[in-house]
Symmetry: C2
Subunit: 240 residues, 2 copies
DNA sequence: CGGCTGGTTGACGAGCGTCAACGAGCGTGG
DNA sequence: CCACGCTCGTTGACGCTCGTCAACCAGCCG
């Protein structure tokens, strides 16, 4: 299961790559780009595949081309918490540390483009733009993490669920028509994942979702497709 | 109350400054250092003073010379959560964003050395070392934030309290003799702050502390001085 | 058909929040 | 000097929310 990041490796034809103008590739000049491309590997991972284990050595970084990756931490007795969700075209990896402090797992089908750790780090030395881009992503992740800390520490179960749905609606909306007051998206997480994300149990997640459905704030189809007819009503349940 | 960061401003004699060889100052070369020093201001803030408000414009960055700063976020109905604690010689500020998304407040007496925002940002453009240093701090803060997310989402009240005490014990130990199995430190936070940090109420904090005292795992003097005779026993209560 | 995974629903109870009373320390003002 | 008000912390009684345990259903695959 481990090491899925490396199987299915095919030479990358960057010219046609959807990530060429996004993520870290977009900051590189032509020469750097060619150098990085030479060592890159495109790979796919099935939903649930482990990409990186806690306390495991990191030897490759990657950018997410499509799909959702969840970052988790686990206590010794098995209690688990999702501490980050990453979407395309996020950068995956923790510079300046040789061992991972968390697990990375594919939450959906995921396509990655990975590079050797030292190639990226060398390039970071040479290219302030690259480092700046990564710094910005880290700052954004930090802002997000702090937003979630408020959610985990201070919101009730139903506010947590509503907040999560709002977040997914926003993520879906950004690639969709903007300024809409309704939303429709596929949940990228299972009930168990949602529970691990919100610091709840699957039963509580399930109950809160059916409550939102009974209150006609959302429709659920096939357990995964969510339709929000009125985002304001959902937002009103999110706390903030 | 606001703007305490600017009062008490005195010219900084950097030569004798305890922060000269720590924090961002340590990464600057002589020329840069002189330039930054010219615009720096040393200032003190009393415990409880607001350093920066949510949605307020940021016009100065700072390094913490002594004391503890708490970063908080507040929901519209007043529920509050501490999302970060910063100690000397941390850098205070959020580059690449003009408005703050959180409140910064002095948790203890605090001494800061502040610089104009644009001076620091100009210097970040010129000095990759400076940017790298800030990037590293952001990554460390991100690691910490994720650690706390596990705590907030998955730990019980007593585990939360124990974890917090362990964290303070470590912070105190790093400046003290190392490798000790006991600890003794002043709580830099009030019961209300602890509650806001752990996502609990002050009553629960109080109850859990007296439980640890009754179980002889800690001694409490004057409500603030904590003595931990056996760190392993405390650690065993912290979960992980 | 049976087993398995993922989700829902119900009954029950523990943990922690809420509300309230109370004590200690401390500065203020008479 | 004591009375007082205030803040901060502790303790108790009570109840709600959410976790626990269990049964059950739907879909899927062998």
């Amino acid at each position: 299961m481990r090491r899925d990041i490396q199987k299915d490796a095919v030479p990358v034809l960057c010219a046609s790559c959807e990530g060429r103008n996004k993520g870290i590739c977009s900051t590189l000049d032509c020469e750097q780009f060619v150098e990085l491309a030479r060592t890159s590997r495109k790979s796919a991972a099935a939903s649930g595949a482990a990409l990186l284990g806690e306390a495991e050595r990191i030897d490759r970084y990657a950018t997410i081309l499509s799909g959702v990756v969840k970052l988790t931490k686990t206590l010794s007795d098995g209690r688990q918490q999702i501490v980050g969700l990453q979407f395309a075209p996020d950068f995956l990896g923790r510079p300046y540390r040789s061992e991972s402090t968390l697990n990375a797992e594919a939450a959906t089908e995921v396509v990655l483009c990975s590079f050797p750790k030292d190639a990226v780090e060398r390039m970071m030395q040479e290219s302030p733009e690259l480092e700046r881009q990564l710094y910005r992503q880290a700052l954004d992740e930090l802002d997000e993490a702090r937003e979630w800390m408020v959610m985990l520490g201070r919101k009730t179960a139903s506010e947590k669920i509503a907040s999560l749905l709002v977040m997914f609606a926003r993520h879906a909306a950004s690639s969709d028509t903007t300024g809409r007051n309704s939303a429709r998206f596929d949940l990228p997480l299972s009930r168990a994942d949602i529970a691990d994300f919100l610091g709840l149990t699957i039963e509580t997640v399930s109950r809160q979702l059916t409550r939102l459905r009974n209150d006609k704030i959302i429709c659920i189809e096939n357990n995964r497709l969510i339709i929000v007819p009125d985002l304001r009503r959902l937002n009103a349940r999110a706390g903030n």
